[in-house]
């Protein structure tokens, strides 16, 4: 009897350890993003992706609907080709647009989709044609400084 209850406790311990691993993988990590009813891939070309990374979220109206699968460079146009894995339960019009935005002033970058009005939907392997590149803070600041410098030299 005693040996049986000890075996049961050890079994509980092993189960608890495996459950903890499962919780870490599912709740803390991001395995669940891969298999929640499946995803479909669409691509979008950007002139500049800033510091967008793979696995960054893709959102619509702030709600997460997918993630960035991979990022490559088109060898002919030299634009960044970003592949987005979108959850199958969401469909988007073909004339939707994608823009790269930043969460907060210094936060991570993500892709934001704005749905269009077309009756045709994006399919697996489709392409988002209207895109807006990442806003890079340093570039804006340097442009501002140059224009200021231009003004002050013109006046004097």
């Amino acid at each position: 009897m005693q040996a049986k209850s000890m075996e049961f406790t050890v079994g509980l311990f092993v189960v608890a350890g495996l459950l903890a691993l499962a919780m870490l993988a599912l709740k803390v990590g991001n395995i669940h993003a891969l298999n929640l009813g499946g995803t479909y891939a669409v691509t979008a070309d950007f002139n500049d992706i800033g510091s967008l990374k793979t696995k960054a979220p893709v959102t619509v109206a702030g709600v997460r609907v997918g993630h960035v699968a991979h990022i490559t460079v088109d060898p002919t146009t030299y634009q960044a080709v970003v592949t987005l894995d979108l959850l199958k339960k969401y469909r988007f019009p073909r004339d939707s647009s994608a823009s790269i935005e930043t969460a907060g002033l210094l936060g991570e970058q993500y892709v934001s989709l704005s749905p269009g009005g077309s009756r045709h939907y994006l399919k697996n392997g489709g392409k988002i044609r209207i895109t807006q590149s990442a806003i890079i803070l340093e570039k804006i600041i340097s442009q501002l400084l140059y224009s200021k410098a231009g003004h002050s030299s013109g006046h004097s």
Binding site: M6, G17, M23, H32, K55, A103
Partner: protein, 257 residues
């Protein structure tokens, strides 16, 4: 003084060699012990289940402390939304495996050493040999297996409990948004790198701590003083081994090897 230092280095290295020979002798016994699962289960109870309480309580406190400290620092940069990520990465990559192994060395490793050492001091091991029972496969190997298996399981429980503790403090006390807490964590923690990396670390720690514990016990002088010294050595050398190995493994993992 230099001579004394040299002597200590030489004796330390020869002790490591001694321990390696012991491991080599233990190898065949390890295979034989797998046929007697009952002994391993019994030892898993002694090492794993009885260490569970201290691991759960420490994990919860470490998670809550990390949440308080992390919040205090992050709020200066208005980045408190990353608190969940900070806590989860710290726990899964470092604190879970390392603190669990340290606690395990203190709670279970020392007990393993003392038990085997006392068996030797009271000549139980010699008695087994007389009856043609190999003490390595009957006594040492099941304890080694059980210790090795228990550490990764405990480390996973530690990290999971720590994350829950941090969630309770962050959402309940500090007033962070629960959704942000989890979503930042999920977008930043990679299962293959961070969680698996922590698991690999804890498997290595489990091996090293169990090895040191059974070696020190088997090698102890068969007196009460010898056993107490062996117990101390187990805790000291396994703690140093854990931290040193952790540095090496972290260096490899962060460089992406």
């Amino acid at each position: 003084m230099i001579r004394g230092l040299g002597r200590r280095v030489i004796s330390g290295v020869s002790r490591l060699g001694h321990a390696t020979f012991f491991l080599a002798r233990l190898m065949p016994a390890l295979g034989a012990a797998l046929t007697r699962m009952r002994l391993i289960v019994q030892q898993l109870y002694m090492t794993g289940v009885l260490t569970l309480v201290i691991v759960v309580v420490s994990g919860a406190f470490v998670g809550m402390i990390l949440a308080l400290q992390g919040y205090n620092t992050l709020v200066r940069y208005d980045a408190q939304s990353s608190l969940g990520l900070l806590v989860a990465l710290s726990l899964t990559r470092e604190l879970g495996p390392v603190l669990t192994a340290l606690l395990f060395a203190g709670r279970a490793g020392s007990a393993l050493t003392a038990e085997i050492g006392l068996m030797k001091a009271t000549e139980q091991l010699a008695g087994m040999e007389m009856m043609a029972v190999d003490p390595l496969s009957r006594v040492v190997a099941p304890r080694f297996w059980a210790g090795w298996a228990a550490v990764p399981l405990l480390a996973m429980i530690f990290s999971a409990v720590g994350v829950i503790g941090a969630y309770i403090v962050a959402v309940g006390d500090l007033g962070l948004d629960g959704g942000v807490f989890w979503s930042q964590m999920q977008s930043g923690v990679s299962v293959s790198n961070d969680i698996m990396g922590g698991l690999v670390k804890s498997v290595v720690f489990g091996f090293v701590v169990s090895w040191i514990a059974v070696f020190e016990g088997y090698d102890a002088k068969p007196t009460s003083e010898g056993v107490s010294r062996a117990t101390t050595r187990t805790v000291v050398s396994s703690s140093l081994a854990i931290l040193g190995l952790d540095f090496i493994m972290t260096a490899f993992m962060l460089r992406g090897l």
